[in-house]
């Protein structure tokens, strides 16, 4: 324990205002949620992203048990979540959010809007590597994008600090001298998912007493007695003045933080200075690290001190505003300073923290040599050995040995013998072509598909090789593979982020036997449309020689069609020659089963919990095929693996349209045994039951004309919706008497949509 912290603890033992605290064993994410629940924010707008997702999940669980009143709004993406938070903050209440990595970057344009117009809130940034390639583990590359957005940033090195700084952050944000939104950043996984012994204020009333009533906002969109214009059109010479006010507020945040932190120490016994110093008083060799890695390095300092080496660790608690004076004071006698950075500023000869420390030292003409090591990118663990190495570098430099000023640490050249010996060749034509026939009937203009039985189609090459890492019984692969049985010839696929993407391309392995590209799910459709248009242009210029046209296919989950809806609609309106295939498993399964807009009413997910105060999802499922049909693309369909011939024929038609006319879109319902809480072998029957209950009708919309391709009523197969719901653990509660009304609402909606579909089937103009 740092001496300074210990001093304060001793000092405060007799303090009057110490409050009751409960010792518990919790992770960083749990403690962020605990703080938020105790503060009882008005609104949280959120969108799930690993590793911050759990914060919303824990809050949802607590809400189901009646532990807080926060209005939890599941946004359509992080850009949307930031918008919700901005609006809610402008509307004069307390606002909370949590995100990571791409989520943070996606909301980035909103961040300066919020700080620039001066609306406080608290955002937990659970740090994670920025894509691409996509990496879900922890580094600081997202955090570094936040350095210039005008939000004060507090660094929480462990679960205890996550709790404590969340309480302090709100006070800081709302302080009259500051009035800025604040980020609390903690390390993804290392802190967010690691359980430690922690303390929290036993009584919510004590938390409320600390944060106080919300100060009356100087600008309030809901002050109906005083109208106000928020966010005017402002050019020169005015904007620079707004920015100057903002800059001054940011610098004032340092002293305000210290005042609030002192008051917090009185209550809790835990004191946070703007920097955390460990054995720094006479330190000659110093390692500077952000967040959890700094703690690891303290053990090394103990070893070095035992050997008489004057080593120390310095870590900022306040990152914005940068605590310049405290850093100057701490490093004024240091000889070698190594800054370990878990992110790079490419081409900058050292990343951001290096340069800020260098400039702080230059101002006081300090003599220290500052070294930079980029380490731990993509969540690479920081072991005690690694901290040892950093100090060894410092000692080498101190001894006058040549040490590179800037370098990466922990990289590996690779063994040439393990490099791929040859490139994968494309699938032979005879294994992918000649199985399916599609012909346009000249008289009727209808497409006629001839597809052989499944047995014959086993001779057709799978576009995926075995060896992917999906859960046992995953319905994605029977769904996609059955669809691909209907697709002839060469295929280029784009997978949006999701289970299918993550489980088939875990580096250095890929299961795809056709060319595959990933892009983030806000943007897959646009990306594939770029590929399509480049294909035709390069073909026109004679740069690509192909006999037949290639089929371009985007594969996405229902989550990707939420956050990527705008991109998909834009792409559909441009009517590129491509297919979008959506596998719908009724939730964001890749991030741990949060609700999607396609999750049906009342279904349980990790953000639509079931408890005394919550009964699953609160709004009806999205009708994506109808949304896409409204773009007037030539072909829209639905399908399930349970009716393979139906799905294969629709795939063949989709291919025909995507090579002859324009875009095709299809949704397949696929099972997720894990998150539907069903047996691994039950998926085939469950999605069949969804069809026969008329929840998921099989139909197509061809040039605007709707045809139901399988009508369970005609076949005498129709079952009640409750029979389908009885097949899954996630819907069991809906069959209980207390949820009768909810079930009834859902059944009515299913029936209404089914009757409407039948009417469309009857009438080509509907």
């Amino acid at each position: 324990m740092a001496l300074q912290e210990e001093d304060v603890r001793t000092r405060n033992r007799s303090a009057q205002r110490r409050v009751d605290q409960t010792t518990d064993f919790r992770s960083g994410n749990e403690m962020a949620a605990k703080a938020a629940a105790q503060i009882d924010y008005h609104v949280m707008g959120y969108f799930p992203i690993t590793p911050s997702t759990e914060i919303a999940e824990y809050l949802d669980e607590m809400k189901a048990n009646g532990e807080h009143h926060i209005v939890m709004i599941p946004a359509d993406g992080e850009h949307g979540s930031a918008g919700i938070c901005y609006g809610a903050a402008a509307a004069g209440g307390r606002v909370f959010n949590a995100t990571s990595a791409q989520g943070f970057l996606y909301m980035l344009e909103e961040m300066p809007v919020q700080s620039g117009t001066r609306f406080p809130m608290v955002l937990n940034l659970v740090t994670r590597a920025v894509s691409g390639p996509l990496d879900i583990r922890g580094d600081h590359s997202d955090l570094y994008y936040g350095l210039n957005i005008g939000w004060p940033i507090l660094l929480a090195k462990d679960p205890q600090a996550v709790y404590d700084l969340n309480l302090i952050a709100l006070r800081l944000a709302e302080h009259a001298e500051v009035r800025l939104p604040v980020i609390v950043a903690s390390d993804g996984f290392f802190t967010s998912h690691q359980k430690r012994r922690v303390q929290y204020f036993t009584q919510n009333a004590d938390v409320q007493a600390f944060v106080g009533d919300m100060p009356k906002p100087p600008i309030d969109a809901l002050d109906l007695e005083h109208v106000v214009t928020i966010g005017p059109y402002m050019n020169d010479p005015d904007l620079i003045n707004t920015r100057y006010m903002q800059s001054e507020a940011m610098y004032r945040a340092e002293a305000v933080f210290q005042t609030i932190a002192s008051e917090f120490a009185q209550m809790s016994g835990r004191y946070y200075d703007v920097v955390n110093k460990y054995s720094m008083d006479d330190a000659e060799v110093v390692v500077v690290l952000l967040n959890s890695a700094a703690d690891t390095a303290k053990d090394t300092v103990d070893h070095l001190r035992a050997k008489g080496i004057k080593a120390g660790v310095l870590t900022p608690v306040l990152l914005r505003p940068f605590p310049k004076r405290a850093i100057q004071e701490a490093l004024k006698n240091a000889k070698i300073v190594l800054v370990g950075e878990r992110a790079d500023a490419y081409g900058g000869h050292g990343a951001n923290i290096t340069h800020e420390i260098k400039s702080a030292l230059q101002e006081i003409h300090a003599n220290a040599t500052v070294l930079t090591r980029i380490y731990g990118l993509g969540g690479r663990d920081f072991y005690p050995d690694d901290a040892d190495h950093f100090f060894e570098l410092c000692l080498d430099a101190l001894a006058g040995k040549a040490v590179r000023q800037f370098d990466y640490y922990g990289v590996n050249p690779g063994d040439p013998n393990l490099a791929p010996a040859e490139r994968t060749q494309s699938l032979p034509k005879n294994q992918t072509t000649g199985f399916i026939e599609v012909a346009k009937d000249p008289a009727s203009g209808q497409l006629k598909v001839k597809a052989p039985p499944l047995r014959a189609l086993t001779a057709k090459a799978n576009r995926m090789a075995p060896g992917h890492g999906a859960c046992p019984g995953c319905g994605i692969f029977p769904g996609i593979n059955t669809f691909l049985k209907g697709i002839e010839g060469d295929v280029v696929v784009l997978y949006q982020t999701g289970c299918a993407m993550v489980t088939t391309t875990g580096y250095p392995f890929s299961s795809h036997r056709v060319t595959y590209i990933h892009n983030l799910f806000q943007n897959g459709a646009a990306t594939l449309s770029g590929i399509v248009e480049m294909f035709f242009e390069r073909k026109r210029r004679g740069e690509i020689k192909v006999h037949d046209d290639v089929t371009f296919l985007m594969v996405t989950g229902d989550g990707g069609m939420d956050i990527g809806m705008g991109s998909a609609i834009g792409t559909a309106l441009r009517d590129h020659k491509m297919i979008i295939l959506e596998y719908d498993n009724e939730g964001y399964m890749n991030t741990g089963s949060q609700l999607s807009y396609s999750t049906p009413l009342g279904h349980m997910t990790s953000t639509s919990g079931v408890g005394k105060y919550e009964h699953g999802k609160t709004f009806q499922h999205k009708d994506t095929p109808q949304i896409m049909a409204a773009t007037n693309i030539p072909y829209v369909f639905t399908g399930v693996e349970t009716y393979p011939q139906d799905l294969i024929k629709k795939a063949a038609k989709a291919q025909w349209y995507a090579t002859h006319e324009g875009m095709a879109y299809g949704k397949i319902l696929i099972s997720c045994p894990l998150n539907w809480k069903a047996a691994d072998d039950a998926g085939h029957e469950i999605v069949g039951a969804a069809v026969n209950s008329c929840f998921f009708p099989l139909y197509e919309v061809e040039h605007g004309i709707t045809t139901i391709t399988y009508n369970p009523e005609d076949k005498n197969k129709r079952i009640p919706v409750s029979d389908w719901l009885a097949t899954m653990g996630k819907t069991k509660h809906l069959l209980k008497p207390e949820n009768h009304e909810l079930l009834h609402q859902f059944e009515e909606e299913v029936e209404r949509r089914w009757q409407r579909l039948k009417a469309k089937h009857e009438n080509p103009y509907l």
């Binding site: 990289v411 791929p420 994968t424 250095p508």
Partner: protein
């Protein structure tokens, strides 16, 4: 109790446990319950976390627990390298993972297996220390629970400073909140795990760790990785072995009962079915199901539900069956 803990801790003051499991067996929950017993019930300091990636159910996962004296500060958040106890929740992991890496020379290896400690010693080539074999799968089948609480019993038995009543209290609280009946079954499972382990100790010949822990090193590096992380030999996932994802059952194929309808092939998420083209007596080519490539089979048994005949049957997996009956895919990469 704390002095007992101190006599076992490493140089840094920690007593460390590593669980080797696959997603879905409940190691994460077992680790949480074990750590909570030490920290919340017994007043120790501790930390607990799992290895995270894109793990899905069935993929290997590690869970870590550190215990320390109440006043010892826990700083390191990095994975445990040299544990006192390794608990293997799934026997097949002994084949596919280096489970005993870094285990202390006088450490304890606990394995969910019907085998004997001597068998396990031969498989792992462990030189010294203690081996505990516990048939957690059998216990969990009999008690209608999961293997995690049986493993917890065996782990608790192996840690002298840990009070079994503290662990039982956490089990009661964890399950009792929602499902009181489940709490009782899990307490019985825990007790059986605590009592039914077969333990053999082998004296350390020297103080060295027999299989050193090595930080993971990437297969491809900055001199060998294709640009931008692209994979130029896709389809190479075929070299992966997913058999450790099975948690006890696999489909057995009875060729004579097969009508080659391909219903199994269509519903298989893992592309395990291997086909061949043969001519019938009239010289027409037909597809025939040759067999199952068990290297990719995760034991979901979807194929059995889909099979219209008796050609596919669920089988409790026995050692060697999959290797003997595997029909290998012939596709390249």
């Amino acid at each position: 109790m704390t002095s007992d803990l101190r006599s076992h801790t490493n140089e840094a003051g920690f007593y460390e446990i590593r669980m080797e499991s696959i997603g879905g067996l409940g190691a994460n929950l077992a680790g949480k319950m074990l750590a909570e017993a030490g920290v919340l019930q017994m007043g120790l300091n501790g930390s607990n976390f799992s290895s995270y990636g894109s793990e899905k159910k069935g993929t290997p996962v590690k869970t870590f627990i550190r215990f320390a004296a109440p006043e010892t500060e826990i700083r390191s958040s990095s994975p445990i390298e040299e544990p006192h106890i390794v608990a293997v929740f799934h026997e097949s992991l002994l084949r596919t993972q280096n489970c005993i890496a870094g285990l202390q020379p006088d450490g304890t290896l606990i394995v969910n297996t019907a085998k004997t400690p001597e068998d396990i010693r031969q498989i792992t080539k462990m030189k010294s220390g203690t081996i505990v074999c516990i048939d957690a799968l059998q216990i969990s089948v009999e008690e209608k629970t999961r293997v995690n609480t049986a493993m917890l019993g065996a782990i608790c038995h192996a840690i002298s400073f840990l009070d079994e009543n503290a662990v039982k209290k956490v089990i009661s609280e964890t399950f009792g909140k929602k499902y009181p009946a489940l709490a009782e079954a899990n307490l019985r499972t825990f007790d059986r795990g605590f009592r039914e382990g077969r333990t053999v100790s082998y004296e350390p010949q020297h103080k060295e760790i027999h299989v050193p822990f090595a930080h993971p090193i990437s297969t491809l590096g900055y001199e060998t990785q294709p640009l931008g992380g692209a994979i130029i030999n896709p389809g190479n996932s075929i070299s992966r072995d997913l058999s450790a994802s099975r948690s006890g059952f696999l489909p057995a194929f009875e060729k004579d009962a097969c009508i080659h309808c391909a219903a199994c092939d269509q519903v298989c998420p893992d592309m395990c079915f291997v086909w061949e083209s043969r001519q019938d007596e009239r010289g027409r080519a037909f597809q025939y199901l040759k067999g199952i490539d068990y290297q990719y089979c995760k034991g979901c048994l979807r194929c059995i539900s889909a099979c219209p005949t008796d050609a596919l049957q669920a089988l409790r997996e026995i050692d060697g069956y999959a290797d003997e009956n595997r029909v290998k895919h012939s596709i390249g990469a």
